[in-house]
């Protein structure tokens, strides 16, 4: 069953003093997200990701097209109780404490008072804010606000969760926590649709991704397939400049930085290079896979748009 169907959603803005100039925000596109999927909505800044999410949340109105969420019209108010939403760079009522804020949102989502009393402390514990439950949000850091944002998005136990740039502005620890949270949501059976321009996050979390650029959907791909197609390369780092000629002799170029040497090696030549750097006069430091076709897929799609425009 499709959790989300976007059916030709389109957004055109009128700009200028007389509102006669048209600016395309989103070209009509179709997209289907299956229930239980983690779907990455990729695109560079200004691609139209937030516009799409705002259209789906009913915050702005489309010029044309429609959408269905969990099989129902996206404008149906009843569907809003079954979806969760985290806006980009969320800002909440800073005069409230997280407990008060979640209680307010819970009431609006139709969660009973008894359920709110049970769920709110548990949720705050889960996002690591239990100690700050009675502190006003105006004293919170950006990372803490993001956690509050995630808590409010799942408080009413929605079936589909929409997250707009959930990792933006977070430090590495915060990003890892949000990743784990998204994975946990998915394990609970929820569909997660999240926008990002950070490919590593999409690669780590998503079943499928789509690329949006300049308001145009450029492609949809299955992450596992894209990674399978990868032209595998590895970064090999070692110490010992004496073996450089041997490595270069098999067609691999080396980059020297102080005492260490780095070479990017095709999978076919990896074993030969490793045999050399594991031998005398060298010490192997590390071997890491590089690149990955998700990045290639993204860059290719973004470049296509640029070419079409030229």
């Amino acid at each position: 069953m499709a959790a989300l169907e976007i059916l030709g959603l389109e957004k055109t803005y009128t700009v200028g003093f007389w509102r006669k100039t048209k600016k395309i925000g989103l070209k009509p596109f179709h997209l289907e997200v299956q229930a239980g999927e983690v779907f990455g909505f990729l695109g560079p800044n200004g691609a139209g990701k937030t516009t799409t999410l705002k259209l789906l949340m009913g915050l702005t109105f489309p010029t044309a097209g429609s959408a269905r969420i969990l099989g129902r019209d996206w404008r149906d108010p009843a569907i809003r109780a079954r979806i969760g939403f985290l806006p980009e760079q969320p800002y909440f009522y800073d005069y409230l404490t997280p407990t008060e804020l979640l209680d307010y949102y819970g009431t609006l989502s139709g969660v009973s008072a008894a359920d709110r009393r049970i769920r709110i402390p548990k949720l705050l514990e889960r996002v690591g804010l239990a100690e700050h439950a009675r502190v006003q949000l105006r004293k919170f850091s950006k990372g803490m606000l993001q956690r509050v944002g995630i808590a409010q998005a799942v408080l009413h136990e929605p079936e589909v969760v929409f997250l707009d740039e959930p990792m933006s502005g977070l430090d590495p620890v915060g990003r890892r926590e949000v990743r784990e949270f998204i994975q946990a949501l998915n394990q609970e059976g929820k569909t997660v649709f999240f926008s990002t321009h950070i490919l590593a996050d999409a690669q780590a979390l998503c079943h499928r991704v789509s690329v949006l650029n300049r308001g145009e959907l450029r492609g949809v791909g299955v992450v596992a397939e894209l990674l399978g197609k990868a032209r595998k390369q590895f970064d090999v780092i070692w110490e010992g400049a004496a073996v450089i000629p041997k490595v270069e002799a098999i067609g691999v170029s080396c980059h020297v930085a102080g005492d260490t040497i780095r070479a990017t090696v095709e999978e076919a030549k990896l074993q030969d290079v490793l045999n050399i750097v594991r031998g005398p006069n060298a010490r192997l430091v590390s071997v890491n896979p590089v690149g990955g076709s998700l990045e290639e897929f993204f860059l290719e799609r973004v470049a296509q748009t640029a070419e079409v425009r030229r």
């Binding site: 108010p77 809003r80 979806i83 969320p90 009522y93 307010y104 949102y105 139709g110 944002g149 409010q152």
Partner: protein, 258 residues
């Protein structure tokens, strides 16, 4: 629906309280304390008149200023700060949001006005050493002031649903001032001719007739306020507010949020 409107209203009330909107009560108290020695110097007959005029005018000014300046930010602040997004992404209609905001500020003003009224009666008792049955007439003037606030909040919400806070404040204030001369406009319409007559007659019915809601001087002089006027003003203020809030709901329901 009632629960959602109630939740938005309660949150609006809580915001006003935590943003120290009710601190105006301190100003009101200071005003009465500062004027008390002056009032006690005046002859006994005038003391009461002066105190009623002073207190009710202060209630009117404080309440109107709060109605306009908090009213215009009810929607615009939520849009500007994007606090509205997680609210409207829930099963909350835009109309419900507007109505909740309206009742939230109306509740704040009711509490504010009640506190000031209690303060007024306290000072009246301290100066006059008794409160007579005639003094309860003041409650009708206070009730009319509350009706006036309901109308002004409705207008502030209406304007803030489509324009900037600055313009909303200007429009609301302009209509309020024009409404203070609504009776004069009607009088002028009666004596004018042609377009001027039509224009002033129309304007007198479009602007809120807050002139009719002001009975401060009359109650200060123990003039009886008829039940008919109470009924008329109640129906008028509620209808006017309903129209303004409905307009705000209609406009806001079609607005694209940035």
């Amino acid at each position: 629906m009632t629960r959602r409107v109630g939740a938005v209203a309660f949150n609006t009330f809580r915001e006003a309280v935590r943003d120290r909107v009710l601190y105006n009560l301190i100003l009101f108290a200071l005003l009465l304390v500062a004027c008390a020695p002056l009032i006690s110097e005046i002859s006994v007959g005038v003391q009461r008149v002066l105190l009623i005029n002073l207190s009710l005018t202060a209630i009117s000014i404080f309440g109107t200023v709060i109605s306009i300046f908090v009213g215009i930010s009810l929607v615009s602040k939520e849009i500007e700060r994007k606090t509205l997004y997680p609210v409207l992404a829930r099963p909350v209609g835009r109309g419900e949001f507007i109505v909740g905001k309206y009742f939230g500020l109306a509740g704040t003003l009711a509490v504010n006005t009640l506190a000031m009224t209690v303060g007024f009666y306290l000072v009246l008792f301290l100066i006059m050493r008794n409160v007579t049955a005639a003094d309860t007439n003041v409650l009708i003037a206070v009730y009319f002031l509350l009706l006036q606030f309901l109308v002004v909040i409705g207008l502030a919400l209406l304007f803030s649903s489509f324009s900037s806070p600055l313009l909303s404040a200007l429009f609301t204030l302009a209509l309020f001032v024009a409404g203070s001369f609504a009776q004069d406009l009607r009088g002028f319409a009666g004596s004018a001719h042609g377009v001027a007559r039509w224009f002033s007659w129309s304007a007198s019915y479009i602007v809120p007739n807050v002139d009719r809601l002001n009975v401060i001087t009359r109650v200060a002089h123990d003039e009886k306020i008829s039940a008919a006027l109470v009924g008329y003003n109640t129906v008028y203020a509620l209808l006017y507010s309903c129209v303004a809030v409905s307009g705000a709901m209609l406009i806001f329901s079609r607005r694209n949020l940035k």
